[in-house]
């Protein structure tokens, strides 16, 4: 108990020192000592992570950093070797993914998963929770679920309009473009009415024009009081919309904080570009070496005619 108290105190203090915007937000999702190994490879080894309620948190890191594995673990799609994690104060350990979703924590996928042979509106309707008609016995009697279905459809239509998919309402979801699929998946996740929505690379393979509208939609999620956690590679997007950034590299969290601060952190730059990324490529270093070689040559052969001319003089 004391250890726990100091832990949360330390966490809130670090938040307080790094940014004022995050002071009032408690953690909606907390993970502690989460470890996931695949054979000899430790894909995720996170000491402590918190996602603050009501903010947009970005989870970034190079390929293979364990972001998606961590996502899978948090949402119940994968079970870690050890660790504990909780959502709204409720432990999610060993909980199957569908129960995690029912608690109000819904994810999307890196490779978009639309139900290709169902129409867009049917995709949306599926998202609604607590449907009476989804029990086998009452399914046979439409009077038991028709009114609920109508309410769900109206909600779905509102969301489709917001995500500009209303023109595609009756089309098969499989006929949508990649970007539209991303939109549909996000809209469908909202049918669950989640507190926390977790987007796995929402911008991957989306053209720049649609990217802007997607950014708007993600911001809209926060504005209506939802918490967003997303995995992304696109640094512009991260800088633009996130309130808090968590950086993972080789399974560990190497830095976290507000975007401007994190982007300037040398550890983050290292994680993305490699530790020695600036040692051999700068112009000055190249020229210094060139001058050195030239001096040597002149010492051996004596001053020569500058026919080709030195570009620096």
């Amino acid at each position: 108990m004391p250890a726990e108290a100091t832990g949360s105190h330390a966490a809130s203090e670090s938040v307080g020192t790094t940014g004022t915007t995050t002071r009032d937000h408690d953690a909606i999702l907390v993970g502690e000592d989460v470890i996931r190994r695949f054979g000899g490879l430790t894909a995720v080894d996170v000491d402590r992570v918190e996602v603050k309620r009501g903010l947009i948190t970005a989870l970034i890191g190079p390929n293979g950093a364990g972001k998606t594995t961590f996502f899978n673990v948090l949402t119940g799609f994968d079970q870690p070797d050890s660790g504990s994690w909780s959502f709204n104060g409720r432990s999610l350990k060993g909980m199957p993914p569908y129960k995690v979703a029912r608690l109000g924590m819904v994810r999307t996928f890196q490779l978009t998963k639309v139900l290709a042979k169902l129409s867009v509106i049917e995709n949306m309707r599926l998202g609604a929770t607590g449907q009476r008609g989804e029990s086998m016995l009452s399914a046979v009697f439409p009077t038991l679920w028709r009114s609920q279905e109508k309410v769900n459809t109206e909600r779905a239509d509102t969301l489709l309009q917001r995500f500009t998919l209303d023109a595609k309402r009756e089309d098969f979801a499989g006929s949508l473009s990649g970007g539209q699929r991303k939109l549909l998946e996000m809209a469908r996740a909202l049918m669950v009415d989640p507190d926390l929505i977790m987007l796995d690379e929402p911008m991957a393979g989306v053209n720049p024009a649609l990217k802007q509208s997607l950014l708007g939609h993600v911001k809209g999620l926060r504005d209506e009081g939802r918490t967003v956690l997303f995995v992304e590679h696109d640094m512009d997007m991260v800088r633009d919309i996130s309130d808090w950034v968590i950086v993972m590299a080789q399974g560990k969290i190497v830095a976290q904080g507000p975007p401007s601060e994190v982007m300037a952190n040398p550890k983050v730059v290292d994680a993305y570009l490699g530790a020695h990324h600036d040692s051999d490529v700068s112009v000055e270093a190249e020229e210094a070496r060139l001058a050195e070689v030239r001096e040597k040559l002149e010492a051996e052969t004596g001053p020569r005619d500058r026919e080709d001319g030195d570009p620096r003089e």
């Binding site: 569908y98 979703a101 639309v114 169902l118 929770t129 008609g133 399914a139 046979v140 049918m191």
Partner: protein, 331 residues
């Protein structure tokens, strides 16, 4: 060549007990494979446990006929739970492997000498359907113009088509509901369904049981039509033919299995009669150096295979299927 006779034979199969059995079996497979994407290759096993549940209850254990029906349905339900529990959390292939193996194990165990007292060994069981035939309202052979049915067949066929109609009605009612939507979504991508808060395992299990119960009805029809059963009535080709029926009619369509069964049996029976007529007799149409009459009875299966291959190429969605649904298939 007696075309009238060939046509009569074909119609007798297409609308008679044969088609009923395969329509019911394929309705079950439609719930499994067509709607939910479960690869059940052991439908013959579900039919077997139901038929033997009925027959053994009445003949070996002296229980009333209606109790036998309940035992049969119960056995099919339990089989579904047993097969589903270990496999439905795994990838689709595992269910396929387990079901085909289970169906064969059941067939061999049922026919074993050790269990001869209960299941009659290779000879099977007889005289369990007296209560059923006692209800027969027909007094003699029923002539339907195109073809005629014997008194017993007419009764089985009547009951059978009523069952088919009720089954189709149930499938239709279920598949237009939110429950059916979840099944179809599982067929498309079960992780997506999980991520939206649905208990995928539970739905798959429900689908497996429901389809198995339709298989049980098919098993009852086999038993009642023949008034006797033996293990060979439930070999693997029963399952494969039921799949042929389903694909022919169009998967994930309520009436697909019914239309498929009618066409399948019209062709199988019609072609069988045609070739035995053409190759047999004193002056055969097909010369004996090309084909003897014993060979002729097998040609229909060659043609069936070729026909199914052609169907897959020219109309992969089956007769009732929706082409659009296939054109966008990512797999």
């Amino acid at each position: 060549m007696d075309w009238g006779f060939i046509f009569e034979q074909a119609m007798g199969s297409a609308l008679g007990p044969d088609a009923v059995v395969y329509a019911l079996a394929a309705i079950g497979l439609n719930v499994h494979f067509g709607y939910t994407g479960l690869l059940n290759f052991g439908q013959a096993g579900f039919m077997a446990v139901a038929a033997y549940g009925l027959a053994a209850s009445v003949t070996s254990w002296g229980l009333p006929f209606w109790v036998g029906l309940l035992v049969g349905l119960g056995a099919a339900g339990v089989l579904a739970l047993l097969l589903g529990a270990p496999t439905l959390r795994l990838r689709a292939e595992y269910l396929a492997i387990v079901t085909i193996a289970a169906a064969e194990i059941l067939r061999i165990v049922i026919g074993s000498v050790t269990l001869k007292d209960e299941f009659g060994g290779r000879d099977g069981l007889q005289s369990f359907s007296d209560s059923f035939t006692a209800l027969n309202p027909y007094s003699g052979t029923v002539d339907l113009g195109l073809f005629s049915l014997s008194r017993g067949d007419a009764w089985v066929t009547t009951v059978g088509w009523v069952l088919v109609a009720l089954s189709c009605l149930l499938v239709w009612a279920l598949m237009r509901s939110p429950w059916g939507r979840v099944l179809k979504s599982i067929r498309e991508d079960e992780d997506a369904v999980r991520s939206l808060g649905k208990n995928v395992f539970g739905y798959k299990m429900q689908a497996l049981v429901l389809g198995g119960l339709f298989g049980a009805l098919a098993g009852f029809m086999v038993a009642l039509q023949q008034a006797a059963i033996n293990p060979d009535n439930f070999s693997t080709d029963v399952t494969f033919n039921a799949y042929a029926v389903l694909i022919l009619g169009g998967a994930a369509r309520v009436l697909g299995p019914v239309v498929g069964a009618v066409i399948f049996w019209f062709l199988i029976s019609g072609l069988g009669t045609f070739f035995s007529e053409a190759a047999g007799g004193r002056d055969p149409l097909i010369p004996t150096w090309l084909m003897t009459d014993t060979q002729a009875s097998l040609v229909r299966f060659i043609l069936l295979g070729a026909g199914l291959a052609a169907l897959m190429i020219l109309r992969p969605q089956g007769i009732f299927g929706d082409r659009r649904e296939l054109a966008i298939d990512a797999r």
